[in-house]
Subunit: 410 residues, 2 copies
């Protein structure tokens, strides 16, 4: 039985947070000096834990459990958003190291090892899920060629990465399943006063750039009826979305209008061009389809009398259901620790979404204080961090004892 | 009786359009090389017409009718917006020159001269109504000190202007009244198939920068009910404005939302800050007051649950009623030319708005083709340009014959 050391886990997390420390948070974007330094420290920590670490050509750090043909894979990412929080992906990686280390200390032999990974650029500084997609052999080279951060090309940034010649890739013969612990990044657990969330599915995302085109007129001399106002068209659309989208998707529907621009942008000129970025998320692909159909209709209706609008897809991520059997194992582990878990979809993308398309995957959430994340105020109570790691370790014990739990045929 | 020469007027307008010509329009922003060159040409044209031209320290060009103690003032402006049209203010200035020239050619002696002015920077490249406000001694030096166009200070731009040491200023002992011809800049005359508009009043403008403040949250992990969405607050406000503002001000109500920005501006981050520029226009100050009161209420209501919003006034222009007696003179002149005029408010500001606070002022509109202005497609039929000048000349005859018409005591 794996007995994790909570203090050691917290000390590792605090140490990791010192790389790229920014006020109470961390600025450690993918492939920055701080990110690579943190990854080299992580390899050292893996080596000390008894794992065999390596870095691949996209700076994924992989700690391989020696001596076993099969392994559970525990992981997440150690890159952050700019001026982000200290826990986000770091939590899941260090939980993996702690569980692997504690399992080695336990000394009980098992045919199933515990591998640990920190995937690169989950946050999309250059290219979202760069690391996990590379690990799963699911990333065309052309996407890497095209990816940039500002003026810096991803290929250029990767040139400096010292990497293993034949790094570990996803191997269904080795990898039983993927487990990821993460902060919730939302307020649901805190609001419900619960400590463990179990992710049922990662939502799909559809994101569109919507462009309307009207005519720039003098806002003092053009009667309202004569205008072709590209801005007003977007405001009509926004109103429609807010009224009707929740009716299509129910209470779990999520959407966001994060950006809007009007041109020419003068106070006294009727906008001739408008651009808005709208995204919506749901776990059901059929609902996403229906939402997209309606949004396209509303764009047309809002633009009546103007030039034809454009709806340009920017992102299209299919929902990923996670493994029910593994979720049940996590739930049993939570209950063994006296915690009734909350089943919930994940509204954010995670590396588990990528891995989950290839091998059974499960995710566990711990509460985010005031729901904050991607911000220097991101935090989780220490006791919740430790509890999350204990529940995950318990689940690892259960799966190593009955590997068929990860097969989807339990 | 003044008989204007329509071909000569059109030739002058075409010549003036060559200074700063840009495609089918003109780019002759205030104090640009093209603007100053055009103003020097205008002085020469005034001299040839028999006027005594001078340039003042803000580059107003003033042509004084020699030998009379009293004068009508006809004017407008020869600066343009960037990539603007060829007629805008140029029309009124060249009509003034043509009418003064034709009156001199007529040779009939009158105790009332015809002065002509081209005011500087009506368009606000540095400071809107710089010229007419300076002429009316209605511009504090501090406003000139503070005015800029990008990085260029107005004072710096003015340093190169060669000006008269004791230029003409508004002088109620001299100036009977102010007359301005202008393109309509809107579609009303064309839609009504009429050729002469008479301006009843220049609308007042209230313009506000509205700021909302919420909280930046992950758009995938934060349930809709938990958000403090600064963008959604602005969308609710825009919807309210579109629904309710016309009810307050009737059919002539004008408003515009020309700019909106959301921060941080990422597709997947709930906006933490929103900024919107809203303006509305009306001829009735009481209605403007009521609109402002309601807008402030709507801002509060739309921001419920967020941090307190800000409503910062950016511009506040009082409505200016124009002289009824002079409007009646213009109407009589129009009818004498077989045209039934359309009485209408001006939704745009004009130099007549500044002058009209100090002396009786009147404005005449000619149709804008497809309502276009402030754009290189701005145009008016040549016959309408000439008719407008003829009607204005006819009005000048009437006022010179009965100067009490301009006194407000006719």
């Amino acid at each position: 039985m794996i007995r994790i050391n909570g203090d050691r886990l917290l000390a590792d997390l605090r140490k990791l947070a010192s790389f790229g420390a920014f006020k109470t948070g961390v600025d450690r974007v993918a492939l920055s000096a701080a990110d690579l330094e943190a990854r080299r420290w992580l390899m050292q920590r893996m080596r000390e834990a008894g794992l065999e670490p390596e870095m691949d050509e996209v700076a994924n750090v992989y700690g391989r459990h020696p001596g076993t043909k099969r392994a559970l894979l525990i992981g997440s990412h150690t890159d952050t958003v700019p001026r982000g929080g200290w826990l986000d992906g770091a939590l899941g990686v260090m939980c993996g190291v702690e569980i692997a280390r504690a399992a080695m200390e336990d000394g009980a032999a098992s045919p199933v090892g515990i591998d640990v990974a920190s995937f690169e650029d989950e946050e999309g500084t250059f290219l979202g899920f760069l690391g996990s997609r590379t690990f799963c052999n699911d990333l065309p080279a052309a996407e890497i060629d095209a990816a940039k951060c500002g003026e810096l090309g991803l290929r250029t940034a990767l040139a400096a990465v010292a990497h293993a010649s034949n790094p570990q890739r996803l191997d269904p013969a080795r990898h039983l399943c993927y487990l990821e612990a993460h902060i919730e990044q939302g307020p649901r657990l805190e609001t419900a006063q619960r400590r463990i969330g179990i992710v049922t599915a990662v939502v799909g995302i559809r994101r569109f750039r919507i462009r309307t085109r009207g005519q720039a007129d003098h806002a003092g001399t053009t009667p309202m009826d004569n205008r072709k106002d590209a801005g007003a068209a977007l405001f009509r659309l926004a109103s429609r979305v807010a009224q009707e989208l929740p009716r299509l998707g129910g209470a779990d529907t999520l959407w966001n209008i994060g950006r809007i621009d009007l041109r020419p942008g003068a106070p006294n000129v009727v906008p001739s061009e408008g651009e808005m970025v709208l995204e919506f998320r749901h776990t059901d692909p059929a609902v996403l389809d229906e939402m997209e159909r309606h949004v396209r209709d509303w764009v047309e209706q809002s633009s009546r009398g103007l030039s034809p609008p454009e709806v340009e897809p920017m992102a299209r991520v299919a929902p990923t259901p996670l493994a029910k059997d593994l979720a049940a194992v996590l739930a049993a582990s939570a209950k063994a620790h006296g915690e009734e878990p909350v089943y919930m979809p994940s509204g954010a993308g995670h590396d588990a979404m990528v891995l989950g398309r290839f091998i059974p995957a499960a995710m566990l959430f711990v509460p985010s204080i005031r729901g904050r994340s991607h911000d220097i105020t991101e935090d989780t109570a220490e006791a919740d961090i430790v509890l999350g790691c204990e529940v995950l370790a318990d689940a690892v014990d259960r799966i190593r004892a009955r590997p068929e739990l990860a097969s989807g045929r339990a």
